[in-house]
Symmetry: C2
Subunit: 557 residues, 2 copies
Amino acid sequence: MTERRHTVLIVGASAAGLRCACRLARLRPDWRIRVLEARATFSYAACGLPYVLSGDIADPQALRRTVYGVIRDTAYFAGHKGVEVLAGHRVLAIDTQRRALRAEGPDGECELGWDELVLATGARPRRLQEQPDHPRVVSFHRWDDLEPLRRGLAEGRIDRVAIVGAGPVGCELAEAFHSLWGAEVVLLEEASAPLPGILDPDVATCVAGHLRANGVELGLESPARRIEVVGERVALTVADGTVEADVAVVAVGVQPAVELAREAGIKLGTGGAIAVDERLATSAPHVWAAGDCAEVHHAVLGEPVSLPLGSLANRQGRTLAEILAGRPDRFPPVAGAVAVKVFDCNVAATGCTLSRARERGLQGRAAWITVEDRAHYWPEAELMHLKLVYETGSRRVLGVQAVGKGDAVKRVDVATQHIAAGGTLDDLAHVEHSYAPPYAPAMDPLAVAAQVAQNQEDGIEAAAPDEALDDGTRILDVRLAEESAARPAFPDRAMHVALGELSSRLDEIDPATGLVVCERGTRSAEAVRLLRRQGIRARYLGGGLRWRALVEESGAS
Amino acid sequence: MTERRHTVLIVGASAAGLRCACRLARLRPDWRIRVLEARATFSYAACGLPYVLSGDIADPQALRRTVYGVIRDTAYFAGHKGVEVLAGHRVLAIDTQRRALRAEGPDGECELGWDELVLATGARPRRLQEQPDHPRVVSFHRWDDLEPLRRGLAEGRIDRVAIVGAGPVGCELAEAFHSLWGAEVVLLEEASAPLPGILDPDVATCVAGHLRANGVELGLESPARRIEVVGERVALTVADGTVEADVAVVAVGVQPAVELAREAGIKLGTGGAIAVDERLATSAPHVWAAGDCAEVHHAVLGEPVSLPLGSLANRQGRTLAEILAGRPDRFPPVAGAVAVKVFDCNVAATGCTLSRARERGLQGRAAWITVEDRAHYWPEAELMHLKLVYETGSRRVLGVQAVGKGDAVKRVDVATQHIAAGGTLDDLAHVEHSYAPPYAPAMDPLAVAAQVAQNQEDGIEAAAPDEALDDGTRILDVRLAEESAARPAFPDRAMHVALGELSSRLDEIDPATGLVVCERGTRSAEAVRLLRRQGIRARYLGGGLRWRALVEESGAS
């Protein structure tokens, strides 16, 4: 008779579950670690799926391989990791009193007992209210979602695609369908701009223009009210008519998969995810949760939220293994950093948007900059547009959003450290970075943004890049004459005095001047300061005419 | 009779001095801000000079232009910034009692009084002990240093260059001379590896191999004992003979320019820079210092150091303006983040090296990882080699060094935030990053490095990538058979058992096994843990055979 080993059952073999299992097997080789997984194919890099569709990744199996080329299947986890994965086992119910679960596998139903249970059930795609159950109306979330679309594209049966939802997956798919296969893409978004919740509209508008410039038909404020399959086509009813396509991909986000937890009476949080404490313990003793099905604590909002991100799932899985092994770890609050590649526009954001900050009753304000990602004289320098959100009064940094061909991601990753630590504008103005012309400007863009916000708190105020301007607003253009000639702005309305001449011509300036403009917002901010000496209280255009041009191109404002 | 305005004199019109002047002119338009500068050409981006030589930047004037194309000359500072720059004015002496300085300008000597004096005198190139004063033996630091070399290269008079010192400037120049002009480059370094002080030898060795692979003749442990000009050539005496070249560039670092301060009795620090407090005040009342001539407080070493970095100079200049304007700012301690591009190898480092930590009596240890900068299945992912230095016991992170074609700079910038804040391994293991396959792996490389260090503190110990191995060390190779066949390692000595089979073949393993190896150090670390169950106390090769191969190619170890 063998001694009964301490048993940890893990439900779900994706990032959180498997990270937890493998780490725990290393820390506690004497324990029995079993992972139950409903599907046959597991442990693939789900975030890579759009790039298989796009052709960036030639072989889908690459998503299942380790760096040394071994497929991560049941044999791999048994041999390399000491972890038993029961693939094709769907868990039917858990009994937290008896510490046992019922599962249905290839050989029928079974009951398994545990000492500790980990719920790593992930998330599933949200569906539209009346979404037909048909192969032409699909989601794109799992391994099995890939092949039908790839085949349809390769065989020429999909020439036109309607994507419902311009979130990260919707934007990635728009690129994927369009760039390799040349399919026509209609991207429909309920909100007024893409990537809602991640970007404020004034930032998202840059992405909207970029999508359109790359040939995507972007429909904003266009919820898909109904999807019908009509013969070989789908027809989507939107506000102003009907959109037809060969296939509709519904990408309206995901929701935590919490049925097992709910049925077992485990507490759920406000966002619908499983409520956990900082040690990832659920409300039921000996039941834990990690990954997309579990809450995280938001560092800025100060409350639990559902944030289904692969980076967090991986880290939660490992943390939970540490905790189960008896170590003093905990999962700290997160800023919610995300990144999305949209064609050759880099998009990254962290903390919370201005819209969200205000919804939560925070006294949010914003500062905008348009800046090169490297020394401006470096030939490969690229522009980026960065919005810093902060709380006036406390001066706490609440969020950063950055978009452009420039390296937006680095700045967001650095800002994340400050935001998670509760840093202020004044801390961020002193952010240290490693500088050489091929990598960064001498003053880090985050420091510049914080300085711009500091100036704003001193009264040098910016108008948002997408602010609707009153026809009567008096505008002062402080660019060089050749800049204004090359890229006219407000041609019928603006007075021109180049910044270099402004201090000697202050008395010529209309005292009713409301807005000062320049290319990036730097010179116009200095001009606003000069005008104050004259008693003129103007604002400048945040992010400058470069940002404004993106707003105008996108059709917003 | 005009009222006497509050006057701030600034000595030195480079980054710190001009940043301070321009900001102060905005904050205090009623004050008189005057900058004295010995040279005629000023306010150029000095860090960009090597890239003019390399041809990356076609027009040297690009280094003097604003983003909107205006040359930053005296008229620019007067018109745009309200700052008076007295170019060609060399300051001869300062009298801190009388608050007056004597300067020599185009029109003879003059005396100027101040209310506040800012010393922003920068740094100057170090010279060798017996360095001939000859146009063929030059430094590369200032605007005027550029043209003679450019002309010599363009006119075919410079075919072979000897560079003395493989610090950042030496490495950048090696690329500059070689890549555009195809000149033969001999790079001589006194230390055993390039970039001493910035990188430990085990990391620097990757850079050494890269320099050699790009055609640079790299002489290590080769101080230039003597330089002689012989006709049209220079002859450098090194340990094992003589190096001849058309020109010798001495790039052995810079030293703070502190003569004025010293002669005025202002206190200097141990590193030879002007001692300042966190408000950048010197020991003399109403005298301040910023930039390369001033000390900064090192966050890891906990003491003042001389760190001549453009990023710090810019930020110090602005900070000093805030302070002089009466605001409650201060210049916080720095981690000393630096970045250097060496051909297509990215090099970045922050905090302190292991060597330096140990010199200072800290209980430093290191962890090494070899990892892709993005999802490993992303086609454009590139490797990087990252060394994490920490203090055992306190577990405080002391430094990070990263090199490779991968994005080393981003990780160093993020680590800098943790190091400056005194964070531990356990904090860094939870570092949050924005993840998408084109930008990062799902688990941030910094988190992985911290986890590797945590494991080491649990007894899973690594050997350094450049550790000299005893002939008798028993080696276990846990790679797949095909990997070992394709890239043999220790072919006569290593036993092979792939990780996937190891747990079932533990009893075959030689109990005297001392070192476990794999490609990157990940599998071998897991193997070390398995061996411990068998009572075998082996170490693994940190950074794996990939890193070791770079050490061996470079000729070290």
